[in-house]
Amino acid sequence: MSTTTTNIKDINANAHAQEHVHVHRDDEGSKFGMWLFLFTEVLLFGGLFFVYFAYRVWYSQGFHDGAQELNVVLGATNTVILLTSSLTMALSILALRKKNTTLSLIHLGITIACAFGFLINKYFEWGYKIHHGIYPGSEKLLERPEGEILFFGLYYLMTGLHTFHVIVGIIILTTMGVSIIRGTINHDKYIKLENGGLYWHLVDLIWIFLFPLFYLLH
């Protein structure tokens, strides 16, 4: 009979514990939210692609001439780098789901390393251009035909915005890596890594379109 008071405490403790266990987790909703965000990103870059499209039609010669000055080898290398990083991103998630945390971290590390490789390439590419006096608002550029000015303006804007997304991607993926090490992302709870992967694949997708449109305008 003295158990009545204890029972009430037990009820409260168990109910509280049950509340903790009953944490609302909605992986599908989480993924849905991520896809909605990706949709906004598509509209962001899509808008810029539309501008590219209009100016390319109206200044086709200028665009053609401007594209001749871009380095196809560097562009293609960056494409290969990003495609490989997408592979290792997917492999990272797969490894985690198969409970191989070490392999998952290795693949994630390679993905981040590829991202840095991309940044280094971009640095040299832009550095070379800027060193030769071709950058938005520069005297040398403003002397050129209108079409070329527009081409390089779009080039710097779109690849610049894309590079910013790569940098943000590095931060996101590193954060995921830390979570994996801590165990807050694991083989049972990996939606954050999946969502980070979705973001990274989008970064790759955008480059898949940027590359032929800017570098392969022969």
Partner: protein, 118 residues
């Protein structure tokens, strides 16, 4: 006292099992390492095709072919790497709606670009 007998450790355990099952339910399908690597190789091959085609003078068709190859690559990345092929209609719907909206804006803009005098 009947309340107490309802809330037991067994119930808590069942809840966790339920959550564990729930997280696996929607995505039982696992794509293997081999498949991912084949997909990656295909993407690299398509990149090579894009570069090669750019060297060939196809006139105004060059852009069309380049965009076509880019579209094929995107569909591969979206379906396999981003898992849309194996996801529910909800996600397929979002991607389709997104693509449709972009296409509509593009077409309407195209009409404007090709019919107005600059």
């Amino acid at each position: 006292m009947s309340n107490h007998s309802e809330i037991t450790n067994n119930d808590i355990h069942t809840d966790m099992e339920h959550h564990g099952a729930n997280s696996e339910e929607h995505d039982v399908h696992l794509i293997g390492y081999g498949t991912y690597i084949i997909i990656w190789a295909s993407l690299l091959a398509l990149t090579a095709v894009t570069v090669a085609v750019a060297g060939i003078n196809l006139g105004s068709y060059t852009l069309f072919v380049a965009l076509l190859v880019a579209a094929v690559k995107s569909m591969i990345v979206i379906n396999v790497f981003m898992h849309i092929k194996y996801d529910s209609m909800l996600f397929k719907g979002i991607v389709a709606a997104c693509g449709l909206i972009v296409l509509i804006i593009f077409v309407l803009m195209g009409v404007d670009v090709f019919t107005t005098v600059r």
